[in-house]
């Protein structure tokens, strides 16, 4: 009986001390972790739409239309210094190779092509699947040298060779599943945003930035 009490008491004390110290550490770390995530997100918005200086959330622009059931799409309209609309940054999420991939994709105001991509969160295989966030794979979505994949001919597709058609994106060697997952999330994100704000929203980047979005979406 005495040993039993001793055992229980030991485990209770160890558990209490461990729990108390962890709650202290968590209280210190949690705000920092959240700040990191916000920082990464806002840096991502300006990165996936090159040249952007300010951004507006979708809620600010399309507040007139009710958010669709099942959660609104998280998107930012990116403006340059003159208030011209440069494009949209959409956050999308989907299943990757080992866990969910969360990413942000920049898309032109007319949804005609991608401007850039940034992976916010993934648990892909280190050294292979993680290449979705570094090197030349993200570059394949940037509008550099006129090579940005076009969404004009339908959704993007993944190919294993250098792309032929305008809507093709070359997969990473050894990480085809991760590459396909990224492209699928991009397609879905753009489609959701397009459905939310209307195809011709933002009027090709001219005029008052907020008004066209609201007008189109309101119809």
């Amino acid at each position: 009986m005495k040993t039993m009490l001793h055992m229980v008491a030991t485990l209770v004390i160890v558990g209490l001390v461990a729990g108390a110290s962890l709650s202290l550490v968590s209280g210190w770390a949690q705000p920092l972790i959240e700040a990191n995530e916000t920082k990464v997100k806002m840096a991502g918005v300006m990165e996936v739409v090159p040249g952007g200086v300010s951004s507006k959330t979708l809620a600010e622009i399309a507040s007139a239309t009710p958010a669709p059931p099942g959660g609104d799409v998280e998107a930012y309209q990116v403006l340059d210094a003159q208030g011209q609309v440069l494009g949209w940054a959409v956050i999308g999420e989907g299943t990757g190779f080992s866990d969910k991939i969360r990413l942000m994709v920049g898309v032109a105001p007319d949804f005609g092509r991608t401007l850039g991509i940034r992976i916010l969160k993934d648990a892909e295989t280190p050294g292979l699947g993680t290449k979705i966030r570094e090197g030349d794979f993200p570059d394949r979505f940037f509008g550099r040298g006129g090579q940005a994949p076009s969404l004009g001919d339908g959704p993007l597709t993944v190919v294993k060779a250098p792309p032929g058609a305008a809507n093709e994106v070359q997969a990473i060697t050894g990480a085809t599943i991760s590459s396909k997952a990224v492209v699928k999330i991009v397609n879905e994100g753009v489609a959701r945003l397009r459905a939310r704000v209307g195809a011709g929203a933002a009027g090709g980047g001219t005029g008052a930035p907020a008004a066209p979005g609201r007008g189109e979406a309101g119809r």
């Binding site: 030991t10 485990l11 558990g15 461990a18 962890l22 550490v25 972790i33 969160k121 993934d122 280190p126």
Partner: protein, 232 residues
């Protein structure tokens, strides 16, 4: 006090003689999984050093109060606490590193090195020696992972710590795949065994040589310090 191992020896044993990666083959899961780059090896190693030092110290301090029947449960809670501290700190301070090591930081909890040292060493020794032991074992693990990671990064990506070292190198993609981990580790283990065996053989030959001299002394009755011994 003479029978006890010196403090220096306590640290050094983890680096080579009892290296967790190359000699004890402990913690193979993170060893194979995260060593695609040298930096990952260093970061994983640093996390393990921290957890190992903290848990060894804590366990050696409380070992007398913990009943034998519940010691494993108590050790695991202590270890898990330190691992969570490392995980949260890395997420808060080094988000990049934390995302590249993925799930392997939380998995340090079940790394056999940590519980192995707690059970084999910290539960039987005082705090000072337990810390020395943890430092040695942790550095040995870091050394193993960094060495493995460097080889795999150089051959698999042509870089070392992210710096290009082999500019016109066609990377062997297999090296950063799991198969490359097994290949590299297997070859390293073979090399380490070869070295230890050679050293061991040399030592044994020296012992045999010495005993032959002793035997000759015994037979001939030439006393130590005489010219016969000087010859040997």
């Amino acid at each position: 006090m003479k029978a006890r191992v010196s403090a220096r020896q306590e640290v050094l044993k983890g680096l080579w003689d009892q290296n967790p990666v190359f000699r004890q083959l402990l913690g193979m899961c993170p060893t194979l999984a995260v060593t695609v780059t040298a930096l990952n090896g260093v970061a994983m190693g640093a996390a393990v050093v921290f957890v190992l030092v903290c848990s060894n110290l804590m366990i050696s301090l409380v070992r007398k109060w913990i009943p034998g029947q519940v010691r494993i449960a108590a050790y695991i809670v202590i270890i898990a606490t330190f691992v969570t501290v490392v995980d949260l700190t890395m997420k808060a301070r080094f988000p990049e590193l934390s995302s590249s090591l993925g799930a392997f930081i939380p998995l340090i909890v079940v790394n056999c090195i940590i519980l192995g040292r707690a059970e084999a060493f910290a539960s039987k020794n005082g705090p000072w020696r337990s810390v020395l032991d943890a430092v040695g074992m942790g550095l040995g693990f870091t050394f193993g992972l960094t060495f493995l990671g460097s080889l795999r990064e150089v051959l698999g990506s042509g870089t070392l710590f992210g710096v290009t070292v082999l500019p016109s190198w066609e990377p062997w993609v297999v090296m950063i795949l799991p198969a490359g981990g097994f290949l590299t580790l297997g070859l390293i283990l073979g090399g380490v065994n070869l070295i230890t065996r050679t050293v061991e053989a040399r030592r044994r030959r020296a012992v045999v040589e010495a005993s032959r001299v002793t035997a000759r002394i015994a037979v001939t009755g030439i006393a130590p310090g005489s010219p016969a011994r000087g010859e040997a």
